[in-house]
């Protein structure tokens, strides 16, 4: 498998476990002690245990007066441990990424030892959104973004969303420690809210003839517009109120051309800043007959506008500043389609043993689009927007990629370009002679548990292609299997340093990378020094 083996991290909500759980017939126990954030024992706490597929494996147990608990009759495997406190589930050894939990091993090596389960309530952020007159803003949208690391850079990833109630109040709970940005915006569209909720009113007697341009409530972010962020600690109860100021905003008008007959289309405006979210100003008009559209209340800033109609789409970046934008033309073009043929797959390999994806090479991180597998096993990319992409690969079952050819050239370690309407084929050759990296994260000579491990699979530090994020085990080790021959760069950093989500760029820490060069089928070792927030290894 190209990825983590026995890493001990399970993605929340996903069924597929990354954990290599090969239970044997032996019976083992899991002993622990539940303590609060100050190390004091928590008694009468209900603690539950699941396997890596989220199936309860035992009846919940209750901690004793010293906080101690034990599960018995377990297989040699890895389990998910969680406690219910104040109506929420808190998992063992929670990391900043709320999408994952750390699994706990059982077996002869661990028998008799006791784990320390720090059960710390999640943080809560709440507040009130008011307008410039001090009145509550109802139905205002609250967006929380968590600072993370992806595709070679620090990014804000959407974390939670909330809406203010009739008192202008909001509350977001269940937050793990980390760096966040919080934004509030008046609801511009009539979805249970006033269609004019984002339009700031004029006080006093208004004059229709001299009314001027409408003013709209501006998005307000705490601590400031991204990339500014703030730190949320364990069990914190934060109050963050907002006052939405108003300002002149602008209209974006245009036409969608070349729509397929009898097909409706949609137009979406995205903020193209660090938080990179769909923020739909008031769509005041869309005419399916002539393709015209209009948004109003668009704050100055950088945006991306996209139109979609079935398998055809169009998109462009726009800058709004000081004036309306009119006569924007979005010409819909068919996407490309690519059949993916996998060659030399060994007998008995799973249908999803090879996954191929495309990730845009644009300056900002973008979602990887994975080829879809039909019930007959055929893999295909449909409606791929014209552009340049890095190929992403993931394999399992002792299979690795040998080559990927597209458009008459090798693209496994390179980028490829898809043109509008292109119909093409991608040939993927696989091998069973795969290389492996067995690594350990260290700091001052000692292993580091649960460190973030980043492996650069393709591309360069300046222009990362395919990157693999992993987490070290309790003993600081990690392993990656299913690798093609090549030169790999690895870095590691702590996930628990406040305000540090990862290196701002790989190019700046090139000299601190652990380098592993692997031949076909080779097992390589890597000692990866833990990076400090400043970028230097510890």
């Amino acid at each position: 498998m190209l990825g983590q083996r026995g890493v001990g991290i399970v993605l929340l909500g996903l069924i597929a476990g990354i954990v290599s759980a090969q239970p044997n017939a032996s019976r083992f126990s899991l002993r622990g002690r539940a303590v609060d954030e100050n190390g004091r024992p928590i008694s009468a706490l209900q603690i539950a245990l699941w396997d890596d597929k989220w199936k309860a494996v035992a009846e919940p147990v209750t901690s004793d007066a010293d906080g101690r608990f034990v599960f018995t009759g377990l297989d040699e495997s890895r389990y998910i441990l969680g406690a219910t406190l104040h109506g929420e589930t808190i998992f063992y050894r929670e990391l900043p990424n709320s999408g994952s939990v750390v699994t706990t091993p059982t077996g002869p090596k661990y028998e008799g030892s006791e784990i320390l389960f720090r059960v710390v309530p999640h943080a809560v952020i709440a507040g009130i959104v008011r307008d410039e007159f001090g009145d509550p803003v109802t139905n205002a949208g609250i967006s929380l973004f968590q600072l993370g690391w992806r595709d070679g850079q620090v990014v804000f990833a959407p974390s939670n969303q909330a809406e203010t109630d009739d008192r202008g109040q909001y509350r977001i709970g269940g937050l793990r420690p980390g760096a966040y940005a919080l934004c509030a915006a008046a609801e511009p569209n009539p979805n249970g809210a006033s269609p004019f909720g984002a339009v700031a009113p004029q006080p006093g007697i208004a004059d229709f003839q001299t009314r001027g341009e409408p003013r709209f409530y501006k998005r307000s972010c705490y601590p400031a517009n991204p990339p500014a962020s703030f730190q949320i600690g364990s069990a914190q109860q934060l109050q963050r109120d907002f006052v939405l100021g108003s300002a002149r905003a602008f209209a974006v008008r245009g036409r969608v051309t070349n729509p397929p007959p009898e097909t409706s289309f949609s137009v979406t405006l995205f903020r193209d800043d660090e938080v990179n979210v769909v923020e739909q100003p008031r769509l005041t008009g869309i005419n399916l007959a002539d393709g015209s559209f209009e948004f109003e209340g668009v704050e100055p800033g950088r945006y991306r506008i996209e139109a979609n109609a079935g398998a055809v789409h169009a998109g462009t970046a726009i800058q709004v500043e000081g004036a309306d934008i009119g006569e924007l033309e979005l010409m819909l073009e068919p996407g490309g389609s690519i059949d993916v043929d996998v060659h030399d797959l060994p007998n008995g390999a799973a249908a999803d043993a090879v996954r191929i994806g495309l990730r845009s090479t644009g300056p900002r991180p973008s979602e990887t689009r994975w080829a879809q597998t039909a019930p007959d096993g055929a893999m295909r990319f449909e409606s791929v927007e014209a552009g340049t992409y890095w190929v992403q690969t993931r394999t399992s079952g002792s299979v690795c990629i040998e080559s990927i050819r597209f458009g008459g050239r090798e693209v496994f370690q390179h980028t490829l370009t898809v043109t509008a309407g292109q119909q093409d084929r991608m040939d993927v050759a696989v091998s069973t002679q795969c290389a492996t990296i067995e690594g350990k994260v260290v700091s001052q000579g000692k292993p580091v548990a649960f460190a973030r491990v980043m492996q650069l699979l393709t591309g360069s530090a300046e222009s990362p292609g395919d990157t693999l994020l992993d987490v070290s085990r309790e003993d600081g080790t990690f392993s990656t299997t299913g690798l093609a021959p090549g030169r790999y760069l690895l870095w590691a950093w702590s996930q628990e340093v406040p305000g540090f989500a990862g290196p701002p760029s790989l190019a700046g820490i090139m000299s601190q990378a652990a380098v592993v060069v692997l031949a076909k089928g080779e097992h390589g070792a890597a000692i990866v020094p833990l990076l400090q927030p400043g970028g230097a290894p510890q």
């Binding site: 597929k53 309860a56 109506g87 009739d166 202008g168 700031a200 208004a206 004059d207 019930p375």
Partner: protein, 328 residues
């Protein structure tokens, strides 16, 4: 300015609330007042939307003005044409919903008279959902309203999810009689313990017929404690033979699936392709599976009765007489 002839169409319940003698000024000026429907007092800082569509245009222009401390507002120099006015304020029912709106046609205007827009205070039901020990629990709530004219008597209003604080708030309610259905969410430890919270109607009724209506007046805030009792729960196990891939399976109460009161994503045995729902309280449930065959969406469903034991061996298959693998 033209002399004015005013035509008023008042929408919804407000027909009697707007003075019949509204007239536009010589300059198509408009003035008015937003008042509290219960007290008659002016509502300060209410938003008044004035939307005008000049003759020959299909593009309305909207002005949003704010009322003064007496609830008064005014707009000068409105063009001829159709004009719609409504008002909103946090804590009151939405201007369009409560009917406090007016439509005016400016053409041959006469002497203006102020428009009176009445805002009705919202009613609010709020409180906590707790277990038998008084501890807050995650829950789902459904709100129904008694509608005498309606067949069956009640109308579904909305649902909401209650987080671990147990606190809920149902705002924006009109005066009337309401019923609340509530159920604790099926948290994981209780699934393993084979206990779950049965679904109830306020205060402690098993069904709507024996539930107590909550009478709400305009402006009233009712504080409720919704208490749930943990009861034995069981497993529902089975398979979907027709599915070639893992299907999406859910278990919900009869009627429209309610996200808060249904089970989904059961545990799945890859080898035997069996599903297991845990922590299911006794009752009549609808089991549903969604998957695709040759690109065609297939939905299968079956009624499952859970009494006092696990239900095993369910085969969710298409009806024999349908001749098709399901309902596309």
């Amino acid at each position: 300015m033209n002399p004015a002839r005013l035509w008023i169409a008042v929408c919804g319940m407000v027909c009697g609330l707007v003075p019949a003698s509204i007239a536009a000024g010589a300059a198509n000026d408009l003035s008015g007042r937003v008042v509290d429907a219960q007290t008659g007092e002016g509502v300060e800082r209410a938003r008044v939307m004035v939307q005008v569509t000049p003759p020959g245009s299909n593009q309305p222009a909207t002005l949003v003005v704010l009322t003064n401390p007496d609830g008064g507002f005014g707009v000068r120099n409105l063009p001829d044409g159709a004009c719609r006015i409504w008002s909103e304020k946090a804590g009151y029912l939405g201007g369009q919903r409560s009917g406090s709106q007016a439509s005016i046609l400016f053409s041959d205007a006469d002497t203006p008279a102020p428009v009176i827009l009445q805002l009705t205070r919202q009613a609010v039901i709020e409180g906590r959902v707790v277990d038998q020990s008084g501890a807050a629990i995650t829950a789902s709530i459904k709100l129904f309203r008694l509608i005498l004219e309606r067949k069956g008597g009640v109308e579904f209003q909305r649902d909401m999810q209650v987080d671990g604080t147990g606190e809920f708030r149902l705002a924006g309610l009109e005066a009337g009689h309401y019923y609340i259905e509530f159920g604790g969410r099926f948290d994981w430890p209780n699934q393993a313990k084979k206990r779950a919270y049965s679904i109830q109607f306020y205060p402690h009724a098993p069904d709507l017929q024996s539930a107590k209506a909550i009478e709400m007046q305009a402006g009233q805030v009712a504080q409720l404690t919704l208490q749930l009792q943990a009861a034995p729960a069981y497993e529902v196990r089975g398979r979907v033979p027709a599915a070639t891939q893992r299907p999406a399976i859910s278990l919900h109460l009869p009627g429209e699936p309610d996200p808060g009161m249904q089970f989904f994503n059961p545990s799945w045995d890859e080898r035997n392709e069996n599903f297991t729902f845990s922590g299911v309280p006794p009752g009549v449930w609808i089991l549903e599976a969604n998957f695709s065959i040759d690109g065609h969406a297939v939905q299968l469903s079956k009624t499952v009765r859970v009494a006092d034991a696990d239900v095993d061996g369910i085969a969710l298959e298409p009806a024999i007489d349908s001749g098709a693998p399901g309902k596309p």
